[in-house]
């Protein structure tokens, strides 16, 4: 990570950490409304991350978003955007308790993870569909992970209600119905982004001569993830997959998302296919 980007990432970590602290305090005191300081801090963190990412993309001479550092960074950015949207629209303060520390951890890990060093750009990186593919995929991941965090809150709230634990934490979590609806909306939005990313990814793989790309482990994990979330959406729409079972299904889906990310190295091009040109950005740019 270059020093320019690093300063923005550190600023984002600080903002997320303070917002996380406020979130813990809000939930601990049983508050559900005082969201503006957390919202302001989260927006500041997302903006800082966005600028950092911009600086990184402008100065990078390697494949985009294939190193753990970049994946963690982009994932945290996407989760941050989702958090801001959810907090602004549905005021789920308790979500910050899960999402904000996660973002701090993701960003801290991205700083300390190994950056693969200079590797030449491939033709794939310069294809006009590649940046939207990456962006859509990570926005989808972000929504799925947010849905996962909300589902954890749902299961926690349900447990508190079932076991009749009427403490401060109980008062700090929104209603089950709101949690379920919000998780459903996140799944729907994530599914839309993820589907588009899959279509674009398939097209890119096909265009670059990757044979049987749909059987690649990464693609298999992505396809199963897609099916799980499709089932969840259909189940919700027909009223057959709601409540605890729906929340548990979201957790399974989020696990598959994590697997897809872990398996997310670039697809290999067939040997008999014409080798795509490699080199620096300037050399490859028409």
């Amino acid at each position: 990570m270059n020093p320019g980007s690093l300063s923005f990432v550190i600023a984002a970590i600080v903002a997320y950490a303070i917002a996380a602290l406020l979130s813990f305090i809000s939930v601990g005191r049983g508050k559900t409304a005082a969201t503006w300081p957390q919202l302001t801090l989260a927006i500041a963190a997302v903006l800082s991350q966005t600028v950092g990412l911009g600086v990184h993309c402008a100065t990078s001479t390697t494949h985009y978003f294939t190193s753990p550092m970049e994946i963690l960074w982009l994932l945290s950015w996407s989760v941050g955007i989702n958090y801001v949207l959810i907090l602004a629209a549905w005021r789920i303060v308790g979500l910050g308790v899960l999402v904000l520390p996660l973002n701090v951890a993701l960003l801290a890990a991205s700083i300390f993870s190994r950056y693969p060093g200079p590797a030449p750009f491939g033709a794939l990186d310069l294809h006009p569909f590649y940046p939207p593919h990456v962006l859509l995929a990570f926005l989808g991941y972000g929504f799925f992970l947010s849905a996962c965090a909300i589902s954890i809150l749902y299961l926690r709230a349900e447990r508190l209600l079932k076991h009749k634990l009427f403490g401060a934490v109980f008062h700090g979590i929104p209603s089950l119905e709101r949690l379920e609806r919000t998780a459903g909306r996140c799944v729907l939005a994530g599914f839309g982004f993820f589907t588009l990313a899959l279509v674009l990814g398939g097209y890119l793989a096909h265009a670059h001569g990757v044979s049987s790309w749909f059987l690649h482990p990464k693609m298999l994990a992505a396809e199963i993830t897609w099916l799980v979330f499709l089932t969840l959406i259909v189940g919700r729409a027909t009223g057959r997959l709601i409540g605890r079972l729906a929340a548990q299904s979201v957790l399974v889906g989020a696990g598959l998302v994590a697997l897809t990310i872990v398996l997310g190295h670039p697809l290999e091009v067939d040997e008999d296919h014409e080798t795509p040109p490699t080199g620096t950005r300037e050399q490859l740019r028409p």
Binding site: F166, S175, G243, R244
Partner: protein, 439 residues
């Protein structure tokens, strides 16, 4: 040191008197204007407010300090004679507060820290109304005005700060609180009421005010169910169709006198199958219970009995009590401070009289000098300026001391000493029969 006026509060409340006694002594709203005038006349007091609610009857009186000893007796006599209840019947239920304690009591009443349900909002509007009636009857002067203004201000501040009004403190509101933990928009969910008990009626009313609009009442007695439905604005259902109602209702309130389970695990399992796992919130306030407690283990069933609701209400009451205990010292401090501010007009008066006396002396000396000496105008001007400075320097010490004493609560004593030291003339005395506006 003796203050020239006194603040006195006399009354009884739910803490000291049963409702049977409170209802005999309560003043109707229409009676209050005349009653407050009569109280003022009978107690020979300067200012008076009568606060009469379902939970308390209280007089707040400002009177001359000379009347202090007789105030209690006169106010008690007024209450007994006005309501036609022998004093012996309620003597033991009465309490009195004087000075800062009376102010603190008023602050706590207005802020709902002395209410049966801590933090309830009604008492503030009742206190405002009592004050308005007394003001319109011409029974409020600057002291009660300042006292009630501060009480209202503190009550608003306390409410804004939250805490005392937070937390559900009754069984009905606890049921609403739990419903809100499960459902986001209560207006979107139907409620089935099984049984027509009085407590069920209270919970239905609370749910209605929280937004629930769709109620179905099902009871054994058709007449009672219809009456209950009419009273609560619900629809009447049939107990035989319980299983069908369970498919559509998301909130089920059970309150019957049946000695057995009306809703069993089997009932609910079948209903849940039909509901495709949609959660159901069950409130069983019957004793003995009418919903099988084992139903709580079914997924999507949230079952609470009367003890659970009481636990939520207790939690709410605990929260309110904690908040109230944080505020009480502040209100006591404010009461003390206000009383000091109001009592200590003596230093102000003494300072004014001192300034007037010294200015008069100075001007007399200047006049005398003009007549005796042949001084030109510039010289006279210089002399007047020099005397002005001398007066300011001379009086700086005593005036500062008066201010400090007023801040520390010793204003009246300091004023007395200044009066003695400078041989100030006594203040102009006000006739008691003068209207309050001239005070």
């Amino acid at each position: 040191m003796s203050a020239r006026w006194t603040l006195f509060a006399l009354g009884l409340s739910f803490r000291t008197a049963p409702v049977s006694l409170r209802e005999r002594l309560a003043f109707r709203a229409a009676e209050l204007p005349d009653a407050v005038k009569q109280l003022r006349e009978q107690c020979q007091c300067r200012e008076a407010v009568i606060l009469s609610t379902c939970n308390r009857v209280e007089f707040f009186i400002v009177a001359s300090a000379d009347e202090e000893d007789r105030l209690s007796e006169k106010a008690r006599g007024f209450l007994a004679s006005h309501r036609g209840v022998p004093l012996d019947a309620f003597q033991g239920a009465l309490y009195e507060h004087r000075g800062g304690e009376a102010a603190r009591h008023l602050f706590e009443v207005a802020a709902s820290l002395d209410s049966q349900v801590l933090g309830e909002t009604e008492v503030l509007s009742q206190t405002r109304e009592a004050f308005r009636i007394a003001s319109e009857a011409g029974a409020v002067g600057r002291r009660l005005q300042a006292l009630f203004d501060r009480a209202f201000h503190l009550a608003r501040e306390l409410r804004r700060a939250g805490g005392v009004g937070k937390g559900r403190a009754s069984i009905s509101s606890a049921a609403v609180k739990l419903a809100e933990r499960i459902f986001d928009q209560l207006s979107e969910h139907a409620t089935l009421v099984v049984g027509t008990g009085e407590m069920a009626s209270g919970i239905v009313k609370s749910l209605k005010s929280a937004g629930v609009t769709n109620f179905i009442v099902a009871g054994r007695s058709k007449e009672r169910s219809e009456a209950f439905a009419q009273e609560t604005g619900s629809r009447c259902g049939r107990l035989e169709n319980l299983q069908e109602h369970l498919r559509t209702a998301d909130i089920v309130l059970v309150s019957t006198a049946a000695p057995h389970y009306i809703l069993t695990v089997d009932h609910l399992s079948r209903a849940l199958d039909a509901r495709h796992g949609r959660p159901v919130f069950l409130i069983d306030i019957s004793v003995p219970r009418n919903v099988d407690p084992a139903a709580q283990d079914l997924p999507g069933v949230f079952l609470y009995d009367i003890d659970d609701l009481d636990a939520v209400a207790r939690e709410g009451r605990k929260q309110r009590e904690e908040a109230a205990s944080r505020w009480r010292p502040r209100l006591a401090e404010e009461a003390k401070r206000l009383l000091v501010e109001l009592s200590d007009d003596a230093p102000d008066q003494a300072a004014k009289r001192l300034l007037a006396q010294v200015s008069a002396l100075r001007m007399a000396e200047v006049e005398q000098f003009k007549q005796s000496a042949d001084a030109d105008d510039p010289a006279l001007l210089k002399l007047e300026e020099a005397l002005d400075r001398f007066q300011a320097k001379l009086l700086h010490g005593p005036l500062s001391a008066l201010k400090e004493a007023a801040r520390e609560g010793d204003g009246s004593a300091a004023a007395e000493w200044v009066e003695r030291l400078f041989r100030l003339p006594p203040p102009e005395t006000r006739n008691k029969s003068e209207p309050l506006e001239e005070e």
